[in-house]
């Protein structure tokens, strides 16, 4: 069992949230799994916690199509924040549009966090979705 402090699930679809949570239960021990219906709510939480000195989540499951603030906008805003820790961000989408993949790839190259691209449906969560061996350290 992997042990993590904090996981965010940002998705407006309750079924996907249910599925991710269910799969997480089997492979990870985490007392702090938070869900958000859109990017704005999650971003507000992260900024709030940063101010309080609380560390950002280690893993984020991020949907793309959401009201108010979608996944891309969330990523853009997140990158502006002063975060030293590397977050594993799993972009979860049912899109088969190649432009979405290219956009993800652009983010992957230009940011310090680990970005994964997961096409729905997801049947399992891989160990790399939760933990990366930091070769630099």
């Amino acid at each position: 069992m992997t042990k993590l402090n904090s996981i965010y699930i940002i998705d407006d679809d309750p079924i996907t949230v249910f599925g991710i949570k269910k799969m997480l239960k089997t492979i990870v021990e985490c007392p702090n799994v938070k869900t958000f219906e859109n990017g704005k709510l999650a971003l507000d939480q992260i900024m709030d916690e940063l101010r309080k000195g609380i560390q950002p989540p280690e893993v984020i499951f991020l949907d793309i199509n959401m009201p108010i603030m979608d996944g891309w906008e969330f990523l853009e805003e997140l990158l502006k924040l002063d975060i030293k820790e590397k977050i594993i961000i799993n972009v979860v989408t049912s899109s088969i549009d190649t432009s979405d993949y290219q956009r993800w790839n652009k983010f992957r190259i230009n940011c310090l966090h680990y970005l994964n691209y997961k096409n729905k449906p997801i049947f399992s969560i891989e160990p790399t979705d939760l933990k990366r061996i930091n070769l630099a350290s």
């Binding site: 679809d13 309750p14 079924i15 996907t16 249910f18 599925g19 269910k22 219906e37 859109n38 199509n65 009201p67 108010i68 906008e73 049912s94 899109s95 088969i96 549009d97 729905k120 449906p121 997801i122 049947f123």
Partner: protein, 614 residues
């Protein structure tokens, strides 16, 4: 005998004022006048009886044998002979007559000689002139005729006869001569002219047609001039010229000229010829029609007189280039702006006109009006743009559809996977509940998509003129409970006579969506207020609906506002479909929708209904 002979000679022979000589039957000179000696010279011979032949020694056309023949005979004989005196040719005429005594016995011959040089020269000149005249007449085919009013005799020269194709011994009468002219105009005309000339005098020269003896129709130029003597017309002299070839050639030239003019004038192309200074020297009908002036008014004008200065300068530059390089400008697209500002698109060619030395003295221009083609091209381009936009919309829609259906099917797959692995009954019930929820969601999605497809496929839109105010009131009535609950004030400033062209269901959908949105996204700290107005503007009816609600950050969401499944407020009722649908409906009716908004102040949506029936 001889003395008696000498005694017979009268002394004055010597003094006769003409060159005279007496010759005896032995052909020896008996006596001669001083003039004889002056003409023939004094012979060298010392003999008392000089043979007459000595005098004629060296004369042309006069040998001893010929002289012997002429010296004998009872009649008067004449011979012409030439003599060279220095470098001058002198022609003489000798007349031989018998010399008889009282008893009429032949004594010899009397010779009288006179200088006829002048006569001979005149004869030669006359012959030369005649030859020249005949040759001229032959070459120019000019004949002559003469009518003597006194003898009433008409005479034709050789050429005149030849032109009439009559034999040379033909003798015409006036009536016959007139008969030769072609019946109708030609005959009437010549008859009139001839009789006028006889009575009034003067002259004429006319081109007429004759029918020759052989029945050929020929053009002739007949001229006549009255000759008067002491105020009385005595003669008519005239010319007669065969101008058939000339007339036929002229006719052919005129015909080809007409062909060319007809061709140029009826070409659906503006044709013009310009000189080196770009002045028009020829224009066709199409060019005149285009410029709406007579050809006469165009000749000598330049483009600066006819077109906008910029256009004229451009055209002048083209002209100069063509004249300088001698290279034709072919099928160039040009734009002409007339003085009144009207624009015509042309396909213009300019070809240099070269003189025999190969220098350009102007150019010929041809312009084909392609304004219609240009317009069609423009329409086509617009159509392509519209198609491209629609295509993009379709692709976008296809992505939305695939995304939505995929996300539902992904949920089904995942849940079914859970279900198959789950042993706990309680958990199984939970998963089943989730599956039902997913199924409901799918149904909703399909219904939404159906609605959108309906709009996009509804190509045969039946637009009707609908009263706007009553439509608004009907929607307001339907929403009355909702509006009342939220305490909304609705202010309408719409002319009750104002109608819009719309599909009835669409108009209702548009008003309903915009009004509902205005209330849904109201600011909770103030009483909601909706202002609805409408007015005519540039072929559109502008329907405007403003609220004092939350407002939208257009910088952030502007490009997504009318997108499918886009919601921007944390509102549970938001489906992200309303604006997408009405935008499609409005665009399907050739209208458009715009929005202005300020966060915290409110939003204004403006719908432009196309008011032009097509």
């Amino acid at each position: 005998m001889k003395t008696s002979q000498a005694g017979l000679i009268p002394y004055p022979i010597q003094q006769l004022p003409a060159a005279t000589a007496l010759v005896n039957s032995d052909f020896a000179l008996v006596q001669a006048s001083d003039d004889w000696y002056a003409l023939f010279g004094i012979p060298q011979s010392k003999k008392s009886k000089v043979p007459i032949f000595d005098f004629y020694e060296g004369h042309e056309r006069c040998s001893k044998e010929i002289l012997q023949q002429y010296l004998v005979g009872n009649d008067v004989r004449t011979i012409r002979h030439g003599k060279n005196i220095g470098d001058k040719q002198v022609w003489l005429e000798s007349i031989f007559a018998p010399w008889l005594d009282q008893k009429k016995n032949a004594q010899g011959t009397i010779i009288q000689v006179r200088d006829i040089s002048e006569d001979v020269e005149k004869d030669a000149e006359l012959e030369r002139m005649n030859n020249l005249l005949n040759a001229t007449s032959e070459v120019a085919k000019i004949g002559s005729w003469e009518y003597d009013l006194v003898t009433e005799k008409l005479s034709w020269c050789e050429m005149t006869k030849k032109i009439h194709q009559v034999p040379t011994d033909y003798k015409p009468s006036v009536a016959e001569a007139i008969e030769f002219y072609k019946q109708g105009y030609s005959r009437n005309k010549i008859s009139m002219l001839f009789h006028n000339l006889m009575s009034e005098g003067g002259s004429f020269n006319e081109r007429l047609q004759i029918i020759t003896k052989k029945g050929e129709e020929r053009w002739v130029a007949a001229g006549g001039k009255a000759i008067t003597q002491a105020g009385k017309i005595i003669k008519i002299f005239g010319t007669f010229q065969d101008i058939n070839e000339q007339m036929l050639a002229e006719k052919r030239t005129r015909e080809s000229e007409r062909l060319l003019t007809t061709l140029i004038d009826n070409l659906p192309i503006n044709v013009f010829i310009k000189d080196k200074d770009s002045r028009k020297i020829l224009v066709n009908k199409a060019e005149c029609d285009y410029l709406e002036v007579d050809a006469k008014q165009l000749i000598g004008k330049t483009d600066f007189d006819l077109y906008d200065p910029n256009v004229a300068q451009k055209s002048r530059d083209e002209d100069l280039e063509v004249i300088r390089t001698l290279k034709p400008m072919l099928a160039q697209e040009t734009i002409n702006v007339r003085k009144d500002g009207s624009i015509t698109h042309f396909l213009t060619s300019k070809i240099p006109l070269l003189d025999l030395d190969g220098n350009a003295y102007g150019l010929i221009g041809m312009s084909l009006d392609i304004s219609n083609l240009k317009q069609k091209e423009e329409q086509l381009r617009n159509l392509i743009n519209v198609t491209a936009i629609q295509n993009k919309k379709l692709i976008n829609f296809a992505h939305i559809v695939s995304h939505n259906l995929r996300s539902h099917s992904a949920n089904f797959s995942m849940l079914l996977d859970f279900l198959s692995k789950e042993n706990d009954e309680k958990e199984k019930t939970r998963i089943m509940k989730m599956l039902l929820f997913a199924s409901d969601n799918l149904m909703d999605t399909l219904e939404n998509l159906n609605e959108v497809v309906d709009i996009s496929t509804n190509v045969n839109l039946d637009k009707k003129s609908i009263n706007l105010l009553s439509s608004i009131e009907r929607v307001q009535q339907n929403l009355s409970a909702f509006l009342e609950k939220c305490g909304v004030t609705v202010i309408k400033s719409v002319d009750k006579k104002l109608n819009v062209l719309s599909v009835p269901a669409y108009l209702e959908s548009i008003i309903l969506n915009l009004m509902t949105n205005a209330v849904k996204y109201r600011a909770l700290d103030r009483a909601p207020k909706i202002v609805i107005s409408a007015q005519k503007q540039d072929g559109f009816i502008v329907f405007s609906i403003s609220d004092n609600g939350l407002g939208i950050d257009l910088k952030r969401y502007g490009d997504k506002l009318f997108g499918m499944y886009k919601t921007f407020h944390d509102n549970k009722d938001a489906r992200g479909l309303g604006l997408y649908i009405i935008k499609n409906q409005i665009e399907a009716m050739d209208g458009n929708i715009t929005v202005t908004s300020e966060v915290g102040k409110g939003s204004t949506f403006k719908v432009n209904f196309n008011d032009q029936t097509q």
